[in-house]
Structures are given as structure tokens and as C-alpha cells.
């Protein structure tokens, strides 16, 4: 019944190699830069240092300093100049060093990045990617563990995606760079070292599609980014108790692709949305709102949410309590099944 389909991609898996999520991103960026000379990488410390997480490691050495730019220290500057470079015909990939530091660039993202294609009625394209390592669980100080995706999901004109595993990371970053729309690319920093089997010859899964990672019939878990592993672990634990949970990785956070979720909930009748972000007016709210409308007669229990609390991200000694974990997920599953 419970078939893990994670990391399965259509096509041969012959040449599969073991990699980590972080390394996959590095390989994906490299492949994109080799494929298209207009692709440039820019951000703080992305050059010599290779980024604080080493995601751009070696790129400046191999592609030179005018394709990998160590920029001045200002996020509005990074985004704002990337917009100009994109207008000029480049395909900039901006790195925001940590989730909490995207806000100085928020105005350029909301006012220009999200709107320029619409304002010009398609005459100006903005093929740019903004990479944001996000989420907690790494014992960091303030502003280094936030989940700001809802701000962007609510912003019309942006495409927002989040990768959750090494295989998706490799393909999704390349697909995002190839996309002619601006893409906010969220990377689950606590999962940078998670391993996966990557087959560079496989056919990638479409970028803007949610994906069922594990089939099940008792209840559906919908999640994204760092919580995908948590949910898969929870589903594994539940399976041992004879409960089969379906796990769906949203992958695209805006505009959302909820068809697979509706289809799933019509079968299971129960939905738990799992996300690290605070709950109020969040992605989990949107999923619940859409599902209760689309699947009104199928729901045997209300859509439940397992999320971060409506607090600032706490000092790291408290993050274990703040972050949803396997137990909190299963606790919600119990509540849903007991409804």
C-alpha cells in the first residue's frame, strides 16, 4: 500500500550518483551557467567564498568575476540591479544570504520584479531567480531561521517554489533559471546535507507541479521544503502502526498547483497541512481554504494545520518546540482520524 516514490524520476536510473541537496544545487547552477552564457550569479560572498553555505562553490573560479559577482552589501541593490541586468538580457540568479535578510529587497521584489512583465504587457521579460535559504533547525541566531514564503506567495506576478530533496534541487534550480518569469527559489537550509540518488540523464519532473511522494489512503499530509522529510518520516512511522498516509510535496507555493491535493483528499477524506511558518495568514491557510471549498463533501474532518506558532522565531534553544516534528504531525493525524 505505502509505496515510497521519492527520488524516482522517469527514465533510466543507470548513471545515478549519490549527492546532497546542497551539492545538487551547485551542480545545477553550474549546468545552467554552462548551458547559457547570459546566466550570472550575484550576491554577498558568492564568489571567492562560494557563499556561506558553499552553494556557489567554485563557480567564480570557473566562470570568472563578471559572471559570479560578489556584490556590495545591500539586498535592494542586489535585486534592483538584477532587474536592470535582466532587462538588458541577462538571466541573473541572486542569492539572499539568509531568509531574514530578504526584507531590504522586498520593495524591489514587490514593486518591480513582480510587476514589470505585466506593466509592460509582456514587452519586457524578467527571467531572474532569487535563491533564499529558509527555515530553522540549525541552531542559528535571530533572522537566520525564518520562513518568509507567504509574503511572496501573496504577491501576484511572482512564481514561488521550494525544493525538498537532492534530486528536485538539481532539476528545479535549472528549470527556474530557464523560466522566463521571475522565480523565488526557497531552499531548506537544514536539509542541505540530505542525500539523494541523482541521475542527470533522467527526465525532470515539471517545475510548477505538486507531487505525490508517498501513496496512502488513511489521511493526506501536504507540505513543502524542510517539512517534507519530517512528513515522510511520520508516514514511515505511521506505516509501522498500519496507517498509510499520503504525502504530497507542494513544490510550487504560488501560483499553487492543488489538483493533486484535491484528488488525494477526495480519496482520504482527511488533510493535515504541515509548515514551519507561523500559522496566521500563511500558505497553510490558503491550502485549507481551497480544500474546504473544493472537497467540501469529501472531508470527514476539518483540515488541520501543524505549523510554527504566531511568534517571532524563538532563540534556538526553543526551536525544537517551535518547529513541527514527527510527533506533532502524528498527533494531528490522530486528531483528524478521531474526528
Amino acid at each position: 500500500m505505502a509505496t515510497p516514490v521519492l527520488n524516482k524520476t522517469s527514465g533510466s536510473t543507470s548513471a545515478a550518483q549519490t549527492t546532497t541537496l546542497g551539492k545538487s544545487l551547485n551542480m545545477g547552477l553550474r549546468a545552467a551557467m554552462e548551458a547559457d552564457p547570459r546566466v550570472i550569479v550575484m550576491g554577498e560572498d558568492v564568489g571567492k567564498l562560494g557563499g556561506v553555505f558553499r552553494i556557489t562553490d567554485g563557480l567564480q573560479k570557473d566562470f570568472g568575476e563578471h559572471r559570479v559577482l560578489d556584490t556590495p552589501l545591500a539586498e535592494s541593490g542586489i535585486i534592483g540591479t538584477a532587474v536592470g541586468l535582466a532587462i538588458r538580457g541577462f538571466r541573473p540568479v541572486c542569492e539572499i544570504q539568509f531568509d531574514g535578510f530578504v526584507f531590504p529587497g522586498f520593495d524591489q521584489i514587490v514593486s518591480q520584479v513582480a510587476k514589470l512583465h505585466y506593466r509592460s504587457q509582456g514587452k519586457v521579460k524578467l527571467p531572474m531567480v532569487i535563491r533564499i535559504p529558509f527555515g530553522g533547525g540549525i541552531g542559528a541566531v535571530e533572522h537566520h531561521s525564518e520562513s518568509p514564503e507567504a509574503y511572496f506567495a501573496h504577491t501576484a506576478g511572482l512564481r514561488v517554489v521550494a525544493c525538498s530533496n537532492a534530486v528536485d534541487a538539481y532539476w528545479m534550480i535549472q528549470q527556474a533559471i530557464q523560466c522566463d518569469d521571475p522565480v523565488l527559489f526557497f531552499e531548506p537550509k537544514r536539509r542541505y546535507y540530505e542525500k539523494g540518488q541523482l541521475d542527470p540523464d533522467a527526465t525532470p519532473y515539471p517545475l510548477f507541479s505538486s507531487r505525490v511522494l508517498r501513496k496512502g489512503d488513511a489521511a493526506t499530509l501536504v507540505t513543502y521544503g524542510p517539512m517534507v522529510k519530517t512528513c515522510l518520516d511520520a508516514a514511515g512511522a505511521a506505516a509501522e502502526e498500519g496507517r498509510s498516509l499520503e504525502v504530497i510535496d507542494l513544490r510550487v507555493l504560488s501560483p499553487m498547483d492543488l489538483a493533486p491535493v484535491f484528488e488525494s483528499v477526495r480519496r482520504t477524506g482527511r488533510l493535515i497541512v504541515v509548515s514551519e511558518a507561523p500559522r496566521e495568514t500563511s500558505l497553510s491557510s490558503e491550502v485549507a481554504a481551497r480544500v474546504q471549498e473544493e472537497c467540501f463533501y469529501s472531508l470527514e474532518a476539518p483540515v488541520l494545520r501543524v505549523t510554527g506558532y504566531d511568534t517571532p522565531y524563538p532563540p534556538s534553544k526553543l526551536e525544537e518546540e517551535f518547529l513541527p516534528d514527527l510527533d506533532r504531525v502524528l498527533h494531528a493525524v490522530d486528531r483528524s482520524l478521531a474526528w
Partner: protein, 406 residues
Amino acid sequence: MSSPEQWTHPEPGDAPAATAATPTAEQVIAGLRATSEGGAELVQLLTPEGERVENAEFDRYVADVTAEDLRGLYRDMVLVRRADRECNALQRQGQLGIWVPLLGQEAAQIGAGRALKPQDMAFPSYREHGVAWTRGVRPEDLLGIFRGTDNGSWDPLATRFHLYTIVIGNQVLNAAGYAMGQRFEGRVGNTGGDPDANEATMVFFGDGATSQGDVHEGFVWASVYDAPLVFFCQNNQWAISEPTERQTRLPLYQRARGYGFPGVRVDGNDVLATLAVSRWALDECRHGNGPVLIEAYTYRMDAHTTTDDPTRYRLSDELEAWKLKDPIERVRVNLIRHEHADQDFFDSIQADSDRLAAELREFCVNMPDPPPERMFSKIYAEPSPQLDAQRDELLEYLAGFSGGAH
């Protein structure tokens, strides 16, 4: 005013800073006199009285300007002003939702715009109707913004004139990035061969905009990356109701000193001086010596927008004083004095501007409203089933909709 040191020691006193930073009517007038007299720092080639004054540094940049060229600049300014006045009237008559007048800033915008070469790029703010004119963007193409039918209907890439930007300062960073791109593509500092291989970018913003973080970051990026970018600041003395003293202690052109690139103040009501200084600055950029800051010292002779009421915050004497420095009048006087233009010329321009205004009005009143589905078009370059669904939902609703009778 030329050395910051003279500025760094306001007298101690109990008065709260807020007052210290408020200009009295006297200060405003004083500031005015300072400019009408010009002074070493203000580059001026044509006096308000229309006399051509020599300038060792900048004369050479307009040495090739013939009487015909000057008539051309005059014509530009007259037509642009006429279009501006017509749009103002169209707003009063309810044909436009709002209008942003350029009255008084014709010389600054025509001088800068005519200095641009076809391969150069321009990033306007929202008042650059004169620059638009020089880029071949017709006044008609601006109307949609103010009538509410679109956000600008020209092609920013074909005209090399970016869309208007309303969020103060944003375009300065976008322009810096574009100019970096010109440099990265090797379009800067090419010696020999085709001189037109070299490109530059000019970005327009106001005195108030200089306070925004984005403008500063544009200064930082452009200077660190040696971007071929001319920062063209039209200091029209006012940011809506706030005088320039609210934004800075020093003349704005001096802001460049702190970043390590040149800053020049030009008489923004002198089209010849603005042309010269802009040509110089663009050349510097094309040769790899960018960026450069130009402060065009001018005056917003009308309201901030048609919804603004300047009588609430500024003295009418101020406007009267600036009328004496009108950017168009001084060229007219100069052309006549040197017999470079006869009555026929002025008559023909009169006729041209009448025609322009009539066509503009004709076009405006006949502009069709956009269809509802336009709301959903071109939000993304790639397909978006989600938006298509919302569009269909709306169209279906509107169709099934029997005239609002519930």
C-alpha cells in the same frame, strides 16, 4: 556652498532641529537669488536674458550646435510644453484621471534627452514627458497611464526608454544594473572602430528621491562597477510640499563627492547648458569614466500633480521669480537677437503645436477602455492555468449577468 566644511557647524542652540531644518520665506528667496545669480558652481551657457555666455569647460560640447539645431531644441520645448498643457486641460475636463505636469522643466529634459544617442538607454521617473519625446515616445503613448487604461503603451526595449517608475528611487537601481550589463557586454571604453559601439545609460529622479536608500545603493553599485550611468537629478526645488532643505544640507550635486565620482550642477532652465553637460557626462560614461551625477537646477512651475494645491505650502513670489528664468523664453530671445528665426518660424511652430494638441485630444477622447480579460493578460510570460481559471470565472460571471438586477 562649495565646501562641506562651511556646512558642518550649525550654531549650537536650544531650538529643536526640526525648526532649524525649516526654510523661512526669506531662506527660500535667498536660495533663489543665489541661483539666479548663478555662481561658479552653476553651469550656464544661456542667461535668462538669452545671452550666450562662454564656458571654458563645456563650450566644446555644443560647438557643433547650429542655429537650426537651436531652433530644433526650441521647437522640442514648445511642443512638449504644449502637450503638457493640453494633458493638464484634458484632466480638468475629466478625460484623464490625473496629470503630472512638467511645466518649467522642458530645458532640463530636452537638453538631457537630446544628448542621448540611439544606442543609449534611459530610465525615467514619472515626469519625464520631455525625455520621452526625445526617445520617439509619442505623447499619446503616455496617456494610458493617466487615463487608467494601461501602464504605458510604448516598447521600452525598442525605444530604449524604460517604463515610468512611480515608486521613488526604484528605477535608479534598475538603471545601474542595466548599465552594468552594458559594461559586461564590452559596450564601454571601446577605442577606435565604431564609436557607436559604446553605450551609456541615463536615469532620471528628483530632489526628494535622493533621500531614498535605493538611490544611494545605485550610487554605490554604479561606482563600484564603473557603470556607464549618468544620474540625472532634476532639482525642481520641491518634493510635493517639501523644499529641498528637507532632504539635504548641501547642494545635491555635491552628494557625489562621498562616492568618488564627479557631480555637476547645471542650470536646468538652460537647454544649451543641459545639453552640453549631459553630452560630457555621457561621453565620460561611454569611455569608462562613469558614473557621473548631474543636478539640473530647475523649478516645478505647476502643481506636483493635478490633485495638488501648491498654494498651501509655497509663496507665489517664488513662482514669479522663476518665471523670469523661463527655459523657453531665453531661447526665443536668443534666436531673435541673432536673427536665427523669423516670424514664419514661430508661426510654423505655433501651427505644429496646435496640430499636436488637437491630435492628442482627439486620440485621448477616443481611447477605448480595456476589456476585462486584460486584467489577467501577460502577468506571467509562461502559462498560468490558475489565472486563466480566474479570468474565465469573471467572464462567465459578467456574461451570465443580467445588468445588475438582483
